[in-house]
């Protein structure tokens, strides 16, 4: 895909710079003339949307850090001051807080898009792995950031998550104390969490750079999963996809703004507006919605170490996914069986999120009649989660008979049926 550069410096200054630092050439080849499959649908706009999310978080974060005080005695009050007295502080904080949720919403759609169209398969394994690294860093940043307001959920979330490391045999205790810088979550913990929360977004930006690099070597996957063969299959990235991504970003911002201006607290937890109190744990402690599935997996195992291993395993398995899926066909559009298992996986993830939000002993609605509580529910779904990666995808490659695929991307969009509306994910 990344053929010879088509950049042609027009002016003397451009030629002068190009022979010294070909940065304009890099931008031109990557974002202007970059050949992009012409059949990308709206599910492929989330890369651009995520870039916007990262920029929004970094910019609002930098200005919030100008007012935030990372001290247990002042952190909560400094957030209140941002909300009440700092010019536009309420707006910036709402954007940053809602932005975290929107970032995860977009990244989940981006990940499921990749799972469905087989974007993790050769030659895009490194691209996928870098994506999983970004996702891990995002979770770390989100967790650290959630501690900063120093509300009840901040404090107890920090306590519970850091206690996870206590499950490690032998060194668990010392590691937990090392994380805390004391004997419990306290001022030193808050200080280091603030420092790391400020650092991680820049690490993410760096890995995003690698992610885009790794994308531009093989080029985009596409809904058919068929590799680009001729220039008939592609369009230049600009203006075709800059405009399409731009439209998708604008639509995304409508949803974003609706939360910021009309429901800024609905994605958060009321208890985090109570200042941290090491003496009282809130009755019902849950992580933010985007971490709930992992919380459910953690609780599915009645053993501390086992739960922690399983929870990290749920992310770890993503790293080896490119080698677990044995099918030669990328897109599930042409995989009649895998498609349904994918739907099951999607439902399992949503169900795990639900189970994570509920108390384990509560009965599941309707299913509760036959004695199914959320613990059991979560266990079944956890089982499916791992089976999908470790059993279903490896086996399917051998037993599934893929549907016939078009000869090329161009043939897929011109031949046979009428051009599908771009909004449809799989047609």
């Amino acid at each position: 895909m990344s053929g010879p550069s088509t950049y042609d410096p027009k002016t003397g200054i451009e030629r002068w710079l190009d022979s010294r630092l070909p940065i304009i050439r890099l931008g031109y080849d990557s974002f202007v003339d970059f050949p992009t499959p012409k059949n990308l649908n709206y599910w492929y706009t989330f890369g651009g949307i995520l870039t916007v999310c990262l920029m929004i978080q970094i910019l609002t974060g930098i200005v919030l850090a100008m007012h935030y005080v990372p001290h247990v005695d002042y952190a909560f009050a400094s957030i209140e001051r941002i909300d009440r007295d700092v010019n536009f502080g309420w707006l910036l904080r709402n954007i940053h807080a809602v932005g975290a949720s929107m970032f995860f919403l977009a990244v989940y759609l981006h990940i499921f898009r990749g799972l469905y169209y087989g974007s993790y398969k050769a030659p895009r394994e490194v691209l996928w792995i870098l994506g999983v690294v970004i996702y891990l860093l995002m979770m770390a940043a989100a967790f650290l950031g959630y501690v900063l307001p120093w509300g009840q959920m901040s404090f107890w979330g920090a306590t519970v998550i850091t206690e996870l490391f206590g499950a490690i045999p032998l060194v668990g205790g010392p590691i937990t104390e090392w994380l805390w810088g004391g004997f419990a979550v306290g001022n030193t913990t808050l200080n280091r969490f603030f420092s790391l929360h400020y650092l991680i977004p820049f690490l993410i930006a760096g890995v995003v750079g690698l992610h885009v690099w790794a994308l531009h070597v093989p080029g985009n996957n596409n809904p058919t999963g068929i590799s680009v063969k001729t220039s008939n299959d592609t369009l230049p990235f600009h203006p075709y996809y800059t405009v399409k991504d731009g439209f998708a970003i604008a639509v995304f911002l409508v949803i974003f703004a609706a939360f910021v201006f009309y429901a800024p607290d609905v994605l958060g937890h009321a208890d985090n507006y109570i200042e941290a109190d090491p003496l009282v744990t809130p009755a019902h402690i849950v992580p933010e919605w985007y971490l709930l599935p992992f919380y459910a997996i953690l609780r599915a195992v009645p053993d501390k170490l086992g739960g922690v291993i399983l929870m990290f395993g749920a992310i770890g398995v993503l790293f080896i996914l490119p080698w677990l899926d044995t099918s030669k066909v990328r897109s599930m559009r042409y995989r009649p069986m895998a498609k349904w298992f994918f739907v099951g996986f999607l439902i399992a993830c949503l169900g795990l999120g639900w189970a994570g939000a509920e108390l384990p002993d509560n009965p599941v609605p309707i299913l509760g009649a036959v004695g199914i509580d959320f613990l059991f529910f979560g266990r079944v779904l956890t089982l499916y989660y791992f089976a999908y990666f470790l059993v279903i995808l490896p086996v399917l490659g051998f037993v599934e008979k893929p549907k016939e695929r078009p000869a090329s991307i161009d043939a897929a969009v011109t031949g046979g049926k009428s051009a599908a509306p771009a909004a449809a994910p799989a047609e």
């Binding site: 910019l59 010019n87 536009f88």
Partner: protein
Amino acid sequence: MTDETQAVDGGEETTRRDFIYIAAGGTAAIGGALTLWPFIDQMNPAADTLAEASTEVNLAALDEGVGITVMFRSRPHFVRRRTAAEVEAAAEADVNRLPDSNARNVNIGDGELATVDNRSALTAAVADGVTVDEAFARTILVSGANCTHLGCVPTEGAGEYDAWFCPCHGSHYDTAGRIRRGPAPENLPIPPMTFTAPTTLVLG
């Protein structure tokens, strides 16, 4: 919208298409520019900073010829009860020939002459029901304590006028806090002040 007289080359179609691109790009650019404002304005002083509490000075605790420095709006301010000799020394100067003949006193508005009276606590507001001894008020000087050159705090009782001398770049102020010699461009500013009791002055 579509100006047909201009649609020479590509016809109406091209003009309309260009209009849509320009309108979309322009709208996005305007939105982006407006979004910058909250990011800039958040660095301006916040409401609590602007509302910072006023400072109360008990003048009764000052003997003649004694000055103290108080903090008001995060900056030091000189409060000095001058001796009669000091007041007279300042009154001798020809106001119109001073480097800065402006009183620099927010209590009386801009443009008043930098006379000794115009720079003393005589100009302070007086709360209802309070009577202030004018002769006493005339001896009180309250001024900002940061040199109007580059912000250093001048040394008290030094310099050519035995009043204030700025050690940073050699500005000499007289006993009315007026710049007399050196690089400073303006007299030391007089803060807003109110007598809430005969010997209690509130800055702010």
